[in-house]
């Protein structure tokens, strides 16, 4: 997709926060380095505490130490837990075993499908380049839910409206880092200007490759990918789908111009086709 000309609905987009914001600050985001995640879930707790996110079920999944299950209306950080019979880097234990832990979050896409399809304007692009739901406007149509290629945003049961990570919009406005990054004890969740994070991420993956962790790879860092690059990057130690992430997500609105064209042709065909059935005499 790198060869495409500039396009409003997909592809690289250097000025994300130019959506009506005069002289916006730098675009910020997360770099979640899962190679140092210890699965403590402090990020989940800090997020719930700061954002007053309600409890979303106290059940045990029975599949692993992950009892949150997935991101959702009332889980804006989710720590995945995976047990594999693979070695961790150059580890030499028998049997081979590794635990992968990764804190997932809204990707704050450069081309955000949830924002594109929201019919009320409730979802908007902040001056920080993040994507936020305005809860006083959302009417719970639920269109953003199937639009998200990562399955992040969701309608809350009993409330009806759509909810997701705000990248702590209130804290950003006060010059603070988001609660999850603040609480992370291993700096697995790093917050900062997105350009800096991309550099840090590239350096970190090189460092890991050099020291014997060939599985390390970045996810969401490429501005030429299907969502124009994510505002939340990840360093993963296995394929994205192992963590429940889509391997090559594409913003659905990339194809919207084609859809409208086909709908226009179909509507014209319906009109002319049904006009034609009246041709000829009366019977």
């Amino acid at each position: 997709m790198t060869t495409h000309e500039p396009h409003l609905l997909h592809g690289p987009e250097p000025d994300v926060a130019d959506a009506g914001h005069p002289r916006p600050p730098e675009r910020v985001g997360f770099f979640t380095d899962t190679s140092v995640c210890i699965g403590c879930k402090a990020c989940e707790v800090a997020c719930k505490e700061w954002n007053a996110v309600p409890e979303d079920g106290l059940d045990l999944t029975g599949m692993s130490y992950d009892n949150t299950g997935a991101l959702g209306a009332s889980s804006w950080r989710h720590v995945a837990f995976i047990e594999q019979d693979k070695p961790l880097g150059g580890q030499q234990t028998q049997p081979e075993l590794r635990w992968l832990m990764a804190s997932d979050v809204c990707k704050h896409c450069t081309h955000a499908a949830c924002l594109d399809v929201c019919p009320t304007g409730s979802l908007f692009r902040t001056e920080f380049g993040t994507v936020v739901v305005q809860e006083d406007i959302c009417n719970g149509c639920g269109y953003c839910v199937p639009a998200c290629p990562y399955g992040v945003i969701e309608q809350r049961e009993g409330d009806g409206r759509a909810w997701k990570c705000t990248l702590c919009y209130d804290r950003l406005g006060a010059g603070q880092e988001p609660a999850c990054a603040k609480a992370c004890p291993t700096e697995s969740i790093q917050f900062g200007p997105l350009d800096d994070l991309r550099e840090k991420a590239a350096a970190r993956v090189e460092q890991l490759h050099a020291t014997g962790v060939p599985d390390a790879r970045l996810y969401g860092e490429d501005p030429a990918d299907g969502v124009g690059g994510a505002g939340a990057l990840f360093l993963l130690l296995d394929e994205p789908e192992v963590y429940g992430l889509p391997p090559d997500p594409v913003v659905t609105t990339r194809d919207l111009p084609a859809m409208w064209r086909h709908a226009g042709v179909a509507a014209a065909a319906l009109l002319t086709g049904l006009a034609a059935v009246f041709a000829g005499g009366r019977r």
């Binding site: 399809v117 019919p119 719970g140 194809d255 859809m259 009366r282």
Partner: protein
């Protein structure tokens, strides 16, 4: 926040934090290297052959939409929109009975569909927020505005016909509704295609045609069911035309969507879509061959065509839900997309 502490004795509790290393400086195994990228997966054989997921959980979120509301809306919107074209055609060619029946049908269908849409909102009292913005990137925004334009026209056309007042304005409204109607019928295909749901998005080229074909067949069915027998030749033609278009679009959809097409064949969706084919074919054949002479045949064919359209919409709705629930329909097409796989490295 690594918890380091400066004491008289020096730095205590210092941890490597985000610089922590665990590779032990060793080579991670055959096939791996500093530039190797995703070597771990490849080491265990052809990656294309194995499908992995996070405990089988869906990657996507399945929409909370109720089938009766949203699939019902897809059907009713099509019935109303295509029905308005038949109503205007019948009006302009002097088929008074059919014209009135179709105007009333379209008014009823568009009223019910608006009610279904509002009922499905998480916050129904805020439905007017749909009209805060006009947003071409949101098919739901465009659809809301289309309904705002189309609904009153359909209402005025029906009211003028029933009361016999303002006949000119009524005819103008009927023609206006006939222009907006096809847009209402066609945009619903874009509405569900503009999502990440594999069985809907991957059909984004075919769905508008499939939905307008289904809409034409449904409206023809309604005209056969409610219109006088001597007036029903256009409806019989429309039944054949609409059903043929629908079957052709469905065939193209199945062929082009690859492994995702499974979701159109299996489970609830499969049963509904098979029923749609049988009912549609029977309805169109009955309309073409028998409905010109027999009232009973016209009624049965009309009912079969309407039922076929209902089955098509509910079938595609359920196929979408099934394709979102199973992560393989999200992951595998993305993996096999040309040029899409190497990007993760």
């Amino acid at each position: 926040m690594s918890g380091a502490e400066v004491t008289r004795a020096g730095l205590r509790g210092e941890r490597p934090g985000s610089e922590a290393l665990f590779g032990n400086g060793m080579n991670g195994g055959p096939g791996g290297g500093p530039d190797g990228g995703p070597a771990g997966g490849r080491r265990r054989g052809a990656r294309e052959a194995e499908f992995t997921s996070y405990y089988g959980r869906p990657v996507l979120k399945v929409p909370h939409w109720a089938a009766t509301d949203i699939a019902g809306y897809l059907f009713l919107g099509g019935l109303a929109g295509a029905g308005s074209v038949l109503a205007a055609g019948a009006e302009l060619t002097g088929r008074r009975g059919t014209a009135r029946a179709m105007k009333l049908s379209s008014l009823g269908a568009v009223s019910l569909s608006a009610a279904a849409l509002i009922h499905d909102l998480g916050r129904p009292e805020r439905f007017l927020n749909m009209l805060r913005v006009f947003k071409p990137t949101s098919p739901m925004s465009i659809g809301s505005w289309l309904l705002v334009g189309y609904g009153p026209l359909a209402g005025a056309a029906a009211a003028a016909d029933v009361t016999g007042r303002f006949p000119r304005a009524g005819r103008a409204a009927a023609c206006g509704a006939a222009v907006f109607g096809p847009a209402v019928a066609a945009y619903t295909g874009v509405l569900i295609a503009d999502t990440a749901v594999p069985a809907w998005h991957e059909g984004h080229r075919e769905l508008p045609y499939l939905f307008t074909g289904s809409a034409a067949a449904a409206a023809a069915g309604m005209a056969l069911l409610t219109g006088p027998l001597p007036e029903n030749r256009p409806a019989r033609r429309a039944a054949v035309l609409g059903t043929a278009a629908e079957l052709a679009a469905m065939h193209a959809l199945r062929r082009r969507t690859g492994m995702i097409a499974e979701t159109y064949r299996q489970g609830t969706a499969g049963r509904l879509l098979r029923a749609a084919e049988v009912l549609g074919t029977a309805g169109a054949a009955g309309a073409a061959l028998l409905s010109g002479r027999s009232r009973r045949a016209a009624t049965l064919s009309g009912a079969a065509l309407l039922a076929a359209s209902v089955c098509t919409r509910f079938g595609l709705f359920h196929a979408g839900l099934a394709s979102a629930r199973d992560p393989k329909y999200t992951v595998e097409p993305q993996r096999s997309r040309p040029g899409g796989v190497g990007r993760t490295g």
